[in-house]
C-alpha cells in the first residue's frame, strides 16, 4: 500500500472573495495538474460562494523568506519611524492634512 511516490503534487490556493479585493491565501490541496487544481480549489475552498476568482500555484514553486532570519531580515524597517505620518507633530489647526 506504499504509494508515496505516486502522491499528487501540492498546490497553494489563493481566492479573491469579490471584485476589488486582493487574492488571499486560503490553504492548499493535492491535484494532478493545473486544471484539476483549479476545479478542486473551487470545491474545497468556495462551497459557499466565497470566491469570484481563484489562483493556484505549485507549492514547490514558491520562494519564501527564511523564518529563522526573520528578525535580521525585517529589522531595517523598525528604526525608521519617520516613514509613518504619525512621526510628524503638526499644529492642531493643520493636523488633519
Amino acid at each position: 500500500m506504499n504509494t508515496t511516490s505516486h502522491e499528487w503534487p501540492l498546490w497553494e490556493v489563493f481566492v479573491r472573495t469579490k471584485a476589488g479585493l486582493d487574492h488571499k491565501h486560503c490553504g492548499s490541496l493535492h491535484a494532478a495538474d493545473p486544471k484539476m487544481a483549479v476545479q478542486m480549489a473551487r470545491d474545497v475552498y468556495t462551497r459557499r460562494s466565497e470566491g469570484s476568482s481563484v489562483w493556484v500555484v505549485r507549492s514547490d514553486q514558491i520562494v519564501a523568506s527564511d523564518p529563522g532570519d526573520k528578525d535580521m531580515f525585517f529589522d531595517p524597517a523598525e528604526d525608521k519611524v519617520y516613514r509613518h505620518p504619525t512621526f510628524y507633530k503638526l499644529p492642531d489647526a493643520v493636523d488633519h492634512m
Binding site: M1, T3, H6, W8, S28, D33, V44, R47
Partner: protein, 335 residues
C-alpha cells in the same frame, strides 16, 4: 470534533519523546516557550520542540481522519433521504465533512508528514479517529441526531481550537467552525419537523435515536480531567484550551433546553439542575465502553475501516491515470 488523540496517547504509548537538548536547542526552546506565553502563533516553518510537533501531528491527523470516516455513517442515508430537500442538505453536509478532512490534512502536512503516510497510518490501524463514528446509523432520525448532538458536541470542542497556538491548525478550525453551524441547525430542524408534524412512530424514532447517541456524544469530549494525563502539557502549549469536563458540562447545559424545545427526553434519570453549581448534574459515563470502542471493539470499527481501505484501493487507478495524463500533457507542452 474528534480530538481525543491527546487523551488516548497515554494508553497507546509512544507519546513521550524525551531527549537531551543541545545548548542551541535550549535557547530555541526558551524562545518558543516565551512566544507561547505571550500568546503568539507558531507557524509551520518556525522552530518547535519535537514533542509539540509530534502531539500536533497526532491530533490534527486524527481530526482529519475523523472527518473523513465521519462521512460514512451519514453517507449511509443519502440515497434514502425522505425528500429531495433533505437529500440535497445531507449531500452538502457530507461534502463539507470531506472538505474539513482536506483542510486538516493540509494543516498536518505543514508539520512535515505526507498525506500518504497519514492515510497509511489510518488504514493500517496505527492512527485513530473519533470513537463516535463507530456507532451505526440505524434510522433516518439518526441523521438529524448526529447533526444536533454529534456536531453540537463537535462545535463545543472545536471553537476553543480556533485559538490553538499552531497557526495552520487554528486557521483550518476557523473555517471549519464557520461551516459547522449549518450542520447542527439542519439536524435540529430535521428532528423538529418529525417531532412537531410526525406520526407517533416517527416521534418514537427520534427518541430512540437520541437514546442511542446521547452517551456516546458525552464520551466524545474524552476521559474525565483527572484521567487525562496529557491535558496539562496540551494546555501549556496552547493546543488544548478548555478541559474535557468543562466542555462536557457546557454541552450538557446547552443541550437540556434544546431537548425540551424539541420534546425529547435525554436518557439519564440523574439529570437534574443543581442550584448551587448552576449547572446540570448528570449520571456516570460508562468509560469501559469508551475504551472498548477506542480499542477497536465498537459496533462498526471493522466496517468503517474496511470501507475506507476499499475506497482508497478502488480509487488507485484513478489517481494513477490522472498523474499519467498530467505527465503526458506536461511532456507535450515541453516538446
Amino acid at each position: 470534533m474528534y480530538t481525543q488523540a491527546m487523551d488516548t496517547m497515554a494508553r497507546e504509548g509512544g507519546g513521550k519523546l524525551e531527549r537531551v537538548l543541545s545548548a542551541d536547542e535550549q535557547a530555541l526552546q526558551q524562545r518558543f516557550d516565551a512566544r507561547i506565553d505571550a500568546g503568539d502563533f507558531i507557524e509551520a516553518k518556525d522552530w518547535m520542540p519535537d514533542n509539540y510537533r509530534k502531539t500536533l501531528l497526532r491530533q490534527i491527523s486524527q481530526h482529519a481522519h475523523s472527518e473523513i470516516v465521519g462521512m460514512l455513517p451519514e453517507g449511509n442515508w443519502i440515497s434514502r433521504a425522505p425528500t429531495l430537500k433533505r437529500k440535497a442538505i445531507l449531500l452538502a453536509k457530507v461534502q463539507d465533512e470531506g472538505g474539513h478532512g482536506l483542510y486538516l490534512y493540509a494543516a498536518a502536512e505543514t508539520l512535515g508528514t505526507s498525506r500518504d503516510q497519514m492515510i497509511d497510518a489510518l488504514h493500517s490501524g496505527k492512527a485513530k479517529y473519533s470513537s463516535i463514528f463507530n456507532y451505526p446509523t440505524l434510522s433516518w432520525a439518526d441523521i438529524g441526531t448526529i447533526g444536533w448532538l454529534v456536531d453540537g458536541a463537535a462545535i463545543m470542542n472545536q471553537v476553543p481550537i480556533c485559538r490553538c497556538s499552531f497557526a495552520p491548525y487554528a486557521r483550518a478550525m476557523i473555517r471549519i467552525c464557520r461551516e459547522e453551524s449549518f450542520h447542527q441547525r439542519q439536524g435540529y430542524d430535521s428532528l423538529l419537523v418529525m417531532m412537531q408534524k410526525g406520526t407517533p412512530e416517527q416521534k418514537a424514532m427520534v427518541q430512540d435515536a437520541v437514546n442511542r447517541w446521547w452517551w456516546p456524544c458525552l464520551m466524545m469530549f474524552g476521559p474525565p480531567d483527572d484521567q487525562s494525563p496529557n491535558s496539562a502539557q496540551g494546555m501549556r502549549w496552547g493546543i488544548k484550551r478548555v478541559s474535557n469536563d468543562t466542555l462536557r458540562q457546557k454541552f450538557v447545559d446547552a443541550t437540556v433546553q434544546q431537548a425540551g424545545v424539541l420534546g425529547v427526553t435525554l436518557p439519564d434519570p440523574e439529570l437534574k439542575w443543581n442550584e448551587e453549581r448552576e449547572h446540570w448534574d448528570f449520571g456516570a459515563i460508562d468509560w469501559d465502553e469508551f475504551w472498548r470502542v477506542v480499542g477497536g471493539e465498537g459496533p462498526c470499527n471493522r466496517e468503517r475501516l474496511e470501507k475506507r481501505v476499499k475506497a482508497w484501493e478502488d480509487g488507485e487507478w484513478v489517481r494513477e491515470a490522472a498523474l499519467a495524463h498530467a505527465n503526458k500533457q506536461a511532456m507535450k507542452e515541453a516538446a
